[in-house]
Symmetry: D2
Subunit: 361 residues, 4 copies
């Protein structure tokens, strides 16, 4: 930083016996999304009493610039205060790598592929970090250093929260079976398109590599999975709830064989999925002050009010209305809403599942 | 504003029959404290079916600069974004006025005093607004225009909220009897010291005037009261709760004779008071992420934890602790806490009643 | 906005005789980049004494949300304070439109194409503005409304400034001949790739359309040009300099036949160009406080210091240096630098021409 | 901070021979006012070749919270981003101390007074820092720790800058003779009123003590002086100009006998003074965009334009004017102006000397 302060990030590495998939878990890449740090605390507390099959790396406070940056009372949520760029859109992705790799190693065995392709990706990241005469943005430097660690794991969990939000999960389409191991009732299934986030930056290369081998007639599977786990609302620390969320993650790790079986089972619940293209943002049609009505996680029938907007400037005006009810003409499930009651026309009011379906195990 | 946009404020004036005290109610002088607008909405809905004895003026969105100013997702809470000055510390107070008035009108009757002193104050405000060759700050211009309206009423209510907060009331010491008309369990009794806020700027001059007459042997009473009503948490609009708060205000207005008796009675509840000097701010002894534990409105025994602070950077350090419990060595009642879980050393963590007592009617 | 204030934008339309290309000029889409408003003022003053061949539309304060948004003393420069999205990356572009158009009208004459394709684009924008059940972001609504006006003109000028900056011009590669009509010594030649900005959103569709017709063997030209004109530094109004810049724009308009010949000629100067890919950002290799040394517009030889960074925390440390000189190993021309002396590692320090060349008329 | 990062401040202590007054110099208590760090750099470079009579303590980056806090591209200038409180209004002042001291030590000799009263003040500060069960704000903790060092020196210099500003000096009225040792043409003479700043917090107690001894008939002098040195504009580092300012400070230190005579002499220049009450803020009478015209440091005759405000929304309106010239009806000297061209009604536009006079040595 300007005064010469060096910001560092604590990294906890737990050693496994080596016969299970390795794990990387980070929290707080967005400044206001702090609850993941509490989940990592609870995970560390529980994991020291478990038998680990895979190495587990845990990184709280992943973005020390973001998590120390106050704008008024609140922590600035989602973007670099200087550039406006979302901290979770700065990971690296080299589209050309998988094709070039398959060309170079058309016949390699799976374990050679796993090891060598990982090394290619690490070298590619190192190139970005170290060999750029014009330098690198603050956000990319942070992101690439984290991604360097994440790329060395088989399973990647990026712990986030929404603004005011229920729990939900971003899951690659191919890994939908794994969504049911988490105690999270709502899952967004995301396609193999890189848009800058950590989960995409770690699973897309392997998905692409699999496709590239398929194109030359080989049907391989690399058992790499990445999830963005949305733990609830931002600006909150709740250590008791963090223990609940830690249990949910342990259930996933046990199911994947990263830790020994010790009774970490997913809860029974109805789980809903929807495709990313059907995960809709509802923008406010007007400025005003919002009484949010749509209950999280519950189907809201067409025509039922999602919110009502107070417009005191319209009070007493015969041609206007001080209360506007917002509805949709289809059934949706509200997942999260904006953090503030004051909105402009065009503010992202709600995020909603549309065309959702039940996720079966 | 810079682009030439003119910001205006809606003012609703309801005419009374003239044989009860007049009322001024404003909301949202602090940008993020929006719930008062919803209370004014509910008051307007109810009042149009009541018989009014005094004139009632209602001003939502009292500070249009503040309530439209976003810093990230949130509305900037409490101060002018350019100068840092608290929007509720810019009202006018002329300490010399009461003394000069009593010198000029030592023998005037009460109604002449009421009318003439009010006019002196209005003229004084107008002087500030209009005859200042070097101009006036943004905040003072807004404050003085509001104060001009407030000074014309007998009863003044300034609707605020805390950051994350229970309901509480700021009440002048001399008006403590009136605190029990509100459905608010916690009251801070404030002395006759002007510190810049609207309530003080409207009751202190009259209190001083009363003292000044007492000094020349006249014992007068002017029946002026001003309160800051803290409705709960900022960044929230809840129209149902607003109706509850409107009922509480109507109970006060009925008790004071501003509206006809129509069954608006205060709820039975234990009401606690504390003096302003005992309304304590508890500052965080360290930076970290806070799990707020102290329950609002409930006495917290000495030694019970107010909050615990998570310090993941200390995890695994044998000389440090990742969880710090914060306690006090006296019983307090937590009233509100900071809006964010991320704090620096020295952040205002909690506001607390100490040395509190039961307020009897 | 939240309080119900409606923000509007002044639009000035000057009617031409109709036998010259029409013009659209806007300013201040980025909040802090205000000098374009002064240029529009001076253009309006001069244009009322000129003979106009084409219609001219001028829009100052194009983004009233941005230009009224203060963060501390400064106006928030470049992005939506809520979402972080750059205000100049939200224009609309429908990649499929040109291909579909050529399929539908393979043999239409040029004037039909000009009129009909423009109408297609306007209809497409209207669709976005009006037929979106989930609504539209604040920034897109502003951008689309501006773009709707810009798409109706032949020549589009978007007036910007850098942070602390010399004058420079963004010019489509195909229109490089026109760069010499402006009194601007440095021009960035941009390819036909849409990245969200107004200039791209208005010239790319026509460039694509031209290519699509070329693909079916027709060689058409539509005489559409769009430029981003960077007037110097942000946070400054200088009406005298604005008159100089207005003359430069008038010289372009006269050269294109939008106004009658009245002696508006470009100044003699050496003009340099560089391709967008060679317009480099230099990121700070460390946090610290920067003494900017590289002079704008002058070639800086390899090895000459671009800046020196003060690191007082290193003072007296035998292993570190309180002053770091930043150099490059190639000749560059500094065009602009960061607005503040305090930088983090990774802050965008300078933008530079590399591999530049002289632009001949 | 929230992530556990500890912010520290570098402190440089140079040892003197002990027969001259000791010196404390700090810089950058306001985040954006960085040039003082460069002056401290140049002072350190020069001082290591000088003979020191008094100890000299130099503290750059005095406020590491402020100087690392970005709001958009700029560093947040003057206040705590959470509370809005000006970082330079949080120093400690105990009005009762001097009176109590004189009561306790009515007959002590000067050197006992100097030593013991200093110790009283240090103990008082330590009490605030360490014995406060409810804690201390971030800003007070920073301020008190700095003040603790400053109180141990005889001469205190607090290095600041204005927003966009000429050089000027805040000087206690009793120390006006010393103003002429600095190469600064404009001096504000401040009375003995504590308003929260470092200079006041260090000289007011001694001034009060002197008065208290005078009241019992002793006429003592303590040779304590404190100045706020305004170096020019914020957000700028200029190492060459910093050397010029270092020379000016060395001239003062030589004159006071803190360093050996080595030819550091003040420049010949006309120096102007004005009393604090005549140092006027001119607030903008309207929102708009400002072309600042008043030249710093030069008397501006009554009626001459200080600035012109562009209001494009008025263009073409027969009842309004797009350009407003701002004038005063008295001669003033503009000293600094606001940092941005975009202003609201009521923004602090200029600070001006009125009723100024020539300061003679």
């Amino acid at each position: 930083m300007a005064s010469g302060v060096e910001l560092t990030v604590p990294v906890y590495r737990l050693k496994g016996s080596g016969h299970g998939p390795s794990v990387y878990i980070q929290a707080n890449i967005h400044g206001a999304e702090v609850q993941g740090n509490a989940v990592i605390y609870q995970l560390l507390e529980v994991l020291q009493r478990q038998e680990l099959y895979g190495d587990i790396t845990l990184v709280p406070y992943a973005n020390p610039v973001g998590c120390n940056h106050k704008n008024g009372e609140y922590t600035l949520g989602r973007f670099d205060p200087i550039t406006g760029v979302n901290w979770n859109r700065m990971y690296h992705f080299n589209q050309a790598l998988p094709g070039k790799f398959v060309e170079t190693f058309p016949d390699a065995d799976t374990s050679t592929i796993l090891e060598t392709f990982q090394q290619w990706m690490l070298d590619d990241i190192d190139d970005q970090l170290d060999h750029n005469i014009f330098g690198l943005t603050t956000g990319r430097r942070i992101a690439y250093q984290l991604q360097r660690m994440a790329l060395q794991a088989d399973l990647v969990l990026d712990l986030h929260t929404g603004p005011i939000s229920s729990k939900h999960l971003y899951c690659p389409e191919y890994a939908r079976q794994s969504a049911s191991f988490f105690d999270i009732p709502h899952t967004i299934l995301i396609p193999n398109d890189f848009a800058g986030a950590l989960d995409e930056s770690t699973f897309c290369p392997w998905w692409d590599l699999q496709q590239a081998y398929k194109n030359i007639g080989r049907d391989l599977s690399f058992n790499k999975e990445s999830f963005t786990v949305e733990l609830g609302s931002q600006e909150l620390i709740d250590l008791d709830e963090a223990l609940v969320d830690a249990q949910s993650i342990l259930s996933y790790l046990q199911a994947k064989g990263s830790i020994a079986d010790n009774g970490f089972e997913p809860q029974e619940m109805t789980r809903y999925g929807c495709y990313l293209k059907d995960y809709k943002v509802f923008y406010s049609p007007m400025g005003g002050m919002v009484d949010y009505l749509g209950e999280f996680g519950q189907p809201l029938a067409a025509g039922q009010p999602l919110a009502r907007i107070l417009r005191m400037d319209n009070y007493g005006d015969p041609d206007a209305n001080p209360l506007h009810y917002l509805t949709l003409d289809q059934t949706v499930i509200p997942i999260l809403h904006f953090a503030s009651a004051s909105v402009n026309q065009g503010t992202e009011l709600y995020k909603l599942f549309s065309n959702y379906f039940e996720l079966k195990k």
